[in-house]
């Protein structure tokens, strides 16, 4: 199968190799067309965002106002902090020039003269890789003022790296903009949407690193070509990151619509010790977990996963074998959201804390069936009642894991409470945080 985002070409990260393989010819082609043509092609290609919400990229670009006196901006989201996600770093390391070329085309299409690439602070190494490539692109005249001469166009564009400093919430697009502005990274209430009121109140588009990296091949090969790959409603390939209990964890670029079981068993090498799968989270820790005995025929694309009761998210597939302690898993996931809540909204700030407390109680052996209902009720009170989707991200794993594994959780709250007192104390001491 053809690889679009991570082609199997040795040393593709080097500008000479990238050029030898047709690099920076898509942007030339784009400059010979109008921005509207480019937006139209990307729209027709069916490219959808790879950062979580799978929103049409072309449609998002078309929201940018055509006539405005304000500067316009592009933000490239490389915050990649969703647990289970480790794919954008592959692009920064192995195919940075295709990302840069994609940024140039996107900026041209939306009329932005400045692009900020927001990369999480922990990614020092990957920031360095990308920064090296960016310097080379500048030196070759592909980026910056020299573009005028290089391409013979009036359009020029600057690309800057903005380094994060350790906060999951900065991946949320409005928080990311506040972070770039040098403010506390609180998410903003929407509307107004970024295309109307983004960076410094100016029209702004935010796209994920992988989304943008798909753009040059679409321009080079035509939207018809892209639209035919994978599932018609969500075409292209996705960088699936498989982690957890599999023999060969890693990133696999596969067409959308690939079977989840195929991904786990054929590509990621199956489960160590041939154990059964208890649970799979298909798109990063925020997405509703799926039962291991209900994975047959589930396809990996936005529509199919929605129908299966989950979501594609960032394509981070987390596999848990039959011996996994789901209470521990859910507690750890909830601890993450509790830690990362920015504290702006009461339901998210307090609710994540309550859920963590209740889960710790269950983990320590003093939970009851009522606690399970209580957890679902707290989750329901967070979901949909907050400024940003972190609230939902915290609520979904709790709500759906308990609903879908009620049998499992019931035995946990029952068996553990039936243990003799001595054992209870023992298990309490052993398993209250740290897990």
């Amino acid at each position: 199968m053809e690889k679009i985002v991570l082609p199997e070409i040795k040393d593709m990260h080097l500008i000479d190799v990238y050029l030898a393989n047709g690099g920076y010819s898509s942007v030339k082609k784009a400059f010979n067309q109008t921005p509207d043509d480019i937006i139209d092609q990307v729209k027709k290609s069916g490219l959808r965002g790879r950062g979580g919400a799978a929103f049409s990229a072309g449609l998002k670009w078309s929201f940018m106002p055509k006539s405005t006196t304000k500067p316009k901006y592009l933000c490239v989201n490389g915050d990649e902090s969703e647990p289970g996600s480790f794919k954008d770093r592959q692009i920064l390391e192995h195919n940075p020039h295709q990302l840069i070329e994609g940024i140039l085309i996107t900026c041209y299409a939306i009329g932005a003269k400045i692009a900020y690439v927001y990369i999480r602070g922990e990614y020092h190494k990957f920031i360095n890789f990308f920064s090296k490539a960016l310097n080379d692109a500048y030196e070759h005249g592909f980026v910056g003022d020299a573009m005028r001469e290089k391409f013979g166009t009036d359009f020029t564009c600057q690309i800057y790296i903005h380094k994060g400093a350790g906060a999951y919430i900065c991946g949320e697009e409005s928080s990311l903009m506040n972070s770039i502005e040098g403010k506390r990274a609180y998410p903003r209430v929407k509307p107004p949407f970024p295309a109307q009121y983004g960076l410094w109140g100016c029209p702004t588009t935010i796209n994920n690193v992988e989304t943008i990296t798909n753009v040059p091949p679409i321009i080079a090969n035509g939207w018809e070509w892209f639209a035919k790959i994978g599932e018609p409603k969500h075409p292209g390939t996705i960088l699936f990151g498989v982690s957890g209990h599999v023999n060969k964890p890693g990133v696999y670029e596969l067409p959308t619509g690939t079977l989840l079981t195929e991904l786990i068993y054929n590509y990621a090498g199956g489960v160590p010790g041939n154990k059964k799968i208890l649970c799979v989270i298909p798109g990063g820790s925020s997405m509703p977990p799926l039962r291991g005995d209900q994975l047959e025929e589930i396809k990996m694309d936005a529509e199919s996963l929605k129908a299966a009761g989950s979501a594609i998210g960032t394509g981070g597939v987390m596999v848990m074998d039959e011996d996994t302690d789901l209470v521990k898993v859910l507690t750890r996931i909830t601890k993450f959201y509790y830690h990362e809540s920015c504290g702006q909204c009461t339901p998210c700030r307090e609710g994540t804390g309550w859920m963590l407390k209740i889960l710790n109680r269950i983990l320590s052996g003093s939970g009851s069936s009522n606690d399970l209902d209580l957890l679902i009720s707290v989750a329901n009170n967070i979901e949909g009642n907050t400024v940003c989707a972190l609230g939902d991200a915290a609520a979904w794993p709790v709500k759906y894991m308990i609903e879908r594994f009620r049998d499992y959780f019931e035995t946990r709250v029952n068996t553990v409470t039936k243990l003799p007192i001595a054992n209870k104390v023992h298990s309490l001491r052993k398993s209250v945080i740290p897990l």
């Binding site: 500067p71 990649e80 902090s81 969703e82 647990p83 289970g84 996600s85 480790f86 954008d88 770093r89 999480r120 602070g121 922990e122 990614y123 020092h124 190494k125 600057q158 800057y160 903005h162 380094k163 994060g164 400093a165 350790g166 906060a167 999951y168 972070s179 770039i180 502005e181 040098g182 403010k183 506390r184 990274a185 410094w200 990151g241 498989v242 982690s243 957890g244 209990h245 964890p249 890693g250 990133v251 820790s285 981070g316 987390m318 848990m320 996994t324 521990k328 898993v329 750890r332 996931i333 993450f336 830690h339 990362e340 920015c342 740290p434 897990l435």
Partner: protein, 160 residues
């Protein structure tokens, strides 16, 4: 302790200021430059940063405390970060975390008395496919085990 940006840092700051339409937007990069020079973000660093960027010290404090990677106190020479999020947890992250704690005799966010090591339990670092992992300062160590971590720490102990 008094804090002044070095000439080298000031040059970097000037370069950074060119990238943004407002001075405030340079706050995160300037804090990175400050941390590189000073090792951590002290009150004096915040005062000086606020002065240079012409913003309130409160705003600087608000940003510094929002992020985990700006240190609010001096950390060890080798800052060990252990990811314990789920994909790493599935592959033994807590055993590693407990092992490091025991070996160094420190808890989360503490520093050894010789200031050589500090420890932090961190959230997912984007290395789940090579779990478990730790990072020491800016460097990732992926696909590790308790033995490997012990060896890494022992090597660092020897290397002054």
């Amino acid at each position: 302790m008094e804090f002044k940006f070095t000439t080298e840092s000031l040059e970097k700051i000037n370069a950074v200021l060119n990238r943004y339409p407002t001075k405030q937007a340079a706050l995160m990069p300037v804090l990175w430059i400050a941390q590189e020079q000073n090792g951590w973000i002290s009150n004096e660093v915040m005062q000086e940063t606020a002065k240079i960027l012409e913003i309130n010290p409160e705003e600087v404090l608000g940003v510094v405390t929002f992020y985990t990677m700006y240190f609010k106190k001096p950390m060890g020479k080798h800052h060990i970060q252990v990811c314990t999020n789920v994909s790493c947890m599935f592959r033994g992250a807590y055993e590693i975390y407990e092992g490091v704690k025991k070996k160094l005799g420190i808890d989360n966010m503490e520093t050894t008395s010789d200031r050589k090591f500090s420890l932090e339990e961190v959230e997912c670092m984007g290395a789940c496919g090579n779990a478990p992992m730790i990072a020491i300062n800016e460097e990732y160590f992926e696909n590790i085990s308790s033995e490997k971590v012990n060896k890494i720490i022992e090597d660092l102990e020897k290397s002054a």
